[in-house]
């Protein structure tokens, strides 16, 4: 089967120039052409430690040879666990140079999750960040019998550990350097070794935190990544001068492509923050020119801005509001290069000086050439807010299986409700089922040790099922409605797209998460999760006192507020013929925050509908049996892993419906 895939890939492999079809090869190339350009930076010990491309290639070579001497062979799997650090990125390429396959995993995933992945991938080596990760791995050493060596970056606290199978990153590198010192030929041999690598070889294995079932290991070849990387760079004219901030999980395809594939193919600089709690500062210092973030990051930034402005003095706030109005009116037009009245232009200039510029400066986006958001739909207001500031923020639609890129919004063709046009070299089609399908050089090789999954996702002729339902608008832009399997029908036959409704709800800053039910039921019911930051600061301003999330969530005023939001959503739905049938009849505000530690969300913060459905069974009943309140007990897991039980009585509210005609009039007024 794999053979078949390989053959299929050969065609597109030729697309990449000779000698630059694997990252190790590209590394050598960059070391030649960009020799003294900065390739990586890490904020460490208070300053941005920097490495040039030639420096990096030396580091990688040393480590790679060190790994070899520890017995790493072609085909071995090597786990990468930890926060974004240059050395961990290097480790991946170092492994690839030998022909081994890096398997980045989510550092914060709970032990059994990680144990499963490592076991399934049969990793031989693990490169980890620090003591915490080492301990984690040691604890699961029995579930992962294949694991031979663990290599750590941070020495601290590990001094007294038994080092027969444990090595510090530095020691491995030193070994590599020592060996090179001994035999002059070694460097050459190593380079010949990596030269044998082919574009069709497996470059990396990324485990998708599947919304359902066990994670699947997506095998991506060098061609997949290199070509998509190049295409991405060409599409947005990215070159070696870019600066990016690597702060998203390394195990996630997004980071892998932006911080490795594109960085290597374009030769731009990757910056790693000092620590998770200094990211904002670090972003400001670096001011990335190319920035990627899932919607929630932009949401939190916006919330932060709004909260700050609430506390600002009256004059400042007034100024902020007036200029934001101006921006709302003409900002996007100007960004899209449309014609705008001179007066507005001047006002916008003024605003740029007093508000937009400073805001961008505070967010560290001053130098941003192009930014992307993806992974989930972003609220139009939020999206517009950033664009109106003159930030070229765009949406893309992608998947691990596609090496990210499926569709992109081209400059100047930005529509809040679509995810753009097919990316370069990508063919797109909608199946009869309404499911979106694509074919591209980025299409993955297959799922590791899971052929039937591969077969069910990927047709023999290379088309991949996205699992999303969507429509291609007349302007050629793709519009995603929902997960294909989630799109259902109410008992009265009306189309029910939960995600669609949920997103509409989540567009309100006060609502963090929402889960809609209604498939094969007589009406739509919704769980709402309030946003603690937003609602919290609201409560502070209206001196509403609360001791806990639970208490705040149950507060009548909060209910009133959310009720108004839900009603607004209903109006919107009523306006759309396809959706008008599935307005929200009843909703409740969950007494606890949905949390990945409780398995309610995936590691990428996506809701696990089915899991939640069974976990909160009683509440769902309550939604449909018409009862006004419901008492529930819920088991919760705290950060430190202890379990506890949460009890609450949750109120359920009924909502009036809007009939299509009426709301049209309203719209008209």
């Amino acid at each position: 089967m794999l053979q078949g895939k390989k053959r299929h890939m050969v065609g597109s492999a030729s697309a990449s120039p000779r000698g630059k079809d694997t990252f190790p090869k590209i590394l050598l190339h960059n070391a030649r052409v960009f020799g003294n350009r900065t390739a990586f930076r890490e904020k460490d010990f208070g300053i941005w430690q920097s490495w040039t491309w030639s420096g990096v290639s030396e580091e990688i070579r040393a480590f790679s040879i060190g790994l070899q001497s520890l017995g790493l062979k072609a085909g071995d799997k090597i786990a990468i666990v930890g926060a974004n650090r240059p050395r961990l990125y290097w480790a991946m390429v170092a492994a690839q140079a030998i022909g081994a396959v890096p398997v980045p995993v989510y550092a914060d995933s709970v032990a059994e999750e990680m144990a499963y992945v490592l076991g399934h991938a049969e990793v031989a080596f693990a490169i980890v960040e620090d003591q915490e990760q080492v301990d984690k791995l040691l604890s699961m050493s029995d579930e992962v019998p294949s694991l031979k060596h663990v290599i750590y970056d941070e020495v601290r606290g590990l001094r007294d550990y038994d080092h027969t199978h444990l090595h510090s990153y530095a020691s491995v590198q030193d070994k590599g350097r020592a060996l090179q010192a001994q035999s002059a030929s070694l460097k050459g041999e190593w380079e010949q070794g990596l030269a044998t690598g082919k574009g069709s070889d497996i470059a990396v294995m990324l485990y998708t935190s599947g919304t359902t079932g066990r994670p699947k290991g997506v095998m991506l070849s060098f061609d997949n990544l290199v070509i998509s990387g190049r295409n991405g760079n060409d599409f947005d004219h990215l070159d070696e001068t870019e600066e990016v901030l690597a702060y998203l999980p390394m195990a996630w395809i997004g980071d892998h492509v932006f911080s490795l594939a594109q960085a290597f193919t374009a030769g731009y600089c990757v910056n790693c923050p000092e620590s998770m709690d200094t990211i904002d500062v670090d972003r400001r210092e670096i001011a990335p020119t190319y920035f990627f973030a899932p919607p929630r990051v932009f949401e939190t930034m916006l919330t932060m801005i709004m909260v700050n402005m609430e506390d600002a003095g009256r004059t400042k706030r007034a100024m902020f509001d007036t200029f934001m109005d101006v921006a709302r009116k003409v900002g996007e037009k100007i960004l899209n290069g449309e014609k705008v009245a001179l007066k507005d232009r001047l006002l916008y200039r003024l605003g740029e000086f007093f508000v937009y510029g400073p805001l961008k400066n505070r967010m560290g986006l001053t130098r941003m050439k192009v930014g992307y958001t993806a992974g989930e739909a972003i609220g139009p207001e939020i999206f517009q807010f950033y664009r109106s500031l003159g930030l070229n923020l765009k949406q893309l639609y992608g998947q691990t299986e596609a090496s990210v890129y499926i569709t992109l919004q081209p400059d100047g063709e930005i529509f809040g409700d679509t995810v753009g046009k097919p990316a370069p070299d990508v063919e797109l089609k909608i199946a009869e089922s309404g499911e979106v399908m694509y074919r591209s050089p980025g299409v993955f090789v297959g799922y590791f040790k899971n052929d039937e999954a591969t077969a069910s996702t990927k047709t023999p002729d290379g088309w991949v099922h996205t699992g999303d339902a969507g429509i291609i608008a007349d302007n050629g832009h793709l519009k995603i409605i929902d997960r294909a399997k989630d799109v259902g029908r109410l008992t009265d036959g009306a189309l029910f797209a939960p995600k669609y409704i949920e997103n509409k709800l989540k567009f309100f800053p006060n609502i963090k998460e929402a889960v809609a039910f209604g498939h094969e039921r007589d009406r739509v019911g919704v769980f709402v999760n309030i946003d603690l930051t937003a609602v919290g600061s609201w409560a502070e301003r209206n001196n509403v006192n609360y001791a806990s999330y639970q208490e705040l969530a149950a507060h009548p005023d909060v209910y009133a507020m959310i009720e108004s939001h839900v009603d607004q959503v209903n109006r919107d739905l009523a306006r759309e013929p396809m959706m008008a049938g599935a307005q929200i009849r009843r909703f409740l505000i969950l007494h606890k925050e949905l949390d990945a530690d409780d398995g309610e969300l995936t590691r990428t913060q996506k809701v696990r509908r089915s899991f939640i459905a069974e976990r909160y069974g009683p509440l769902i009943e309550a939604l449909y049996d018409g009862s006004a309140t419901k008492h529930v007990r819920t088991e919760v897991t705290y950060e430190d892993g202890r379990k506890g039980v949460l009890e609450a009585t949750v109120e359920i509210r009924d909502m009036p419906l809007h009939d299509a005609g009426k709301s049209f009039q309203e719209a008209a007024e």
């Binding site: 601290r156 550990y161 038994d162 199978h165 200094t278």
Partner: protein, 275 residues
């Protein structure tokens, strides 16, 4: 694979193998009085290289006075102090530092006007030597020296996980962090003996746990000998190798935690049985 499982950490004292660990500092029959008031009466004990030594006792037991005697801020009327084998003559407080004794203070004594960074840099004072004229020129030697010590300080900042407050004036920091910075300042002196005066006073449980972790790490990573004052028994017991108990300026017990805990005198002292 189980070859992985780490051995229990050794304290440097045990690690260096040499059976009987060397004594770093010995206090013999020391007495101290202010005017008529006796603060310390005829106390003797020793501190071994590489150990964590606790001095505990109820308020007013003379703990802090003892520390002040050890680092030469007070001069005992009677008794001798032996530092690394040689009996110490009467000395100026600032000499203690050059002998390798650093300390923190009961109620934080940071340099309020300076940032976290400068406070910790100040710990390097003794190790910096460029004279006034180099300082005036700055470029060249003075700057190089500054940078080389900045590196050390940054390691400490990293070690104590206070990167985020590097450039904040210490006055603005919460109490717990101030204590941490003060520890950092003492560490910057790379002391042989580190005196901690109630390192956890006024901290919440979480802060206490952090602080204990740091103290243990310091002791293990740098092999620094530590003598600490605390009246929170609990903390002391799982932190220290040996404990001296003072009460009304007299020594009422000395030995490993569990022993001391069992001692009747100590229990009385803590239950406040009348004397």
């Amino acid at each position: 694979m189980n070859a992985f499982v780490a051995d229990k950490a050794l304290t440097p004292a045990e690690a260096d193998g040499s059976g009987e660990p060397e004594t770093l500092l010995r206090v013999d029959n020391v007495s101290l009085a202010f005017g008529g008031v006796k603060a310390i009466t005829d106390i003797s004990f020793d501190i071994r290289k590489g150990e964590i030594r606790a001095i505990i006792g109820p308020n007013g037991a003379g703990k802090t006075s003892m520390l002040n005697v050890i680092n030469g801020f007070y001069h005992p009327q009677e008794g001798t102090i032996t530092w690394r084998g040689t009996v110490r003559r009467k000395m100026k407080p600032y000499e203690a530092a050059s002998q390798g004794i650093a300390r923190t203070f009961q109620n934080v004594a940071l340099f309020k006007g300076m940032t976290t960074l400068d406070n910790i840099m100040s710990g390097r004072s003794l190790k910096m030597h460029r004279n006034f004229f180099w300082q005036v020129l700055w470029r060249g030697p003075a700057e190089r020296e500054e940078i080389e010590h900045r590196k050390k300080v940054e390691e400490i900042i990293d070690f104590l996980e206070i990167q985020a407050i590097r450039k904040t004036p210490v006055g603005r920091l919460p109490y717990g962090l101030q204590k941490r910075v003060e520890l950092g300042r003492a560490l910057a002196m790379e002391p042989e003996l580190l005196l901690l005066d109630e390192p956890m006073a006024g901290m919440n449980l979480e802060e206490k746990e952090d602080m204990s972790r740091f103290i243990i790490d310091v002791n293990q990573e740098f092999g620094t000998t530590i003598a600490l004052i605390e009246h929170d028994m609990g903390v002391v017991m799982d932190l220290s190798d040996r404990v001296v108990v003072l009460d009304y300026g007299k020594k009422i017990a000395d030995g490993p935690p569990e022993e001391v805990q069992a001692s009747q005198a100590v229990i009385d002292a803590y239950l406040g049985v009348s004397h």
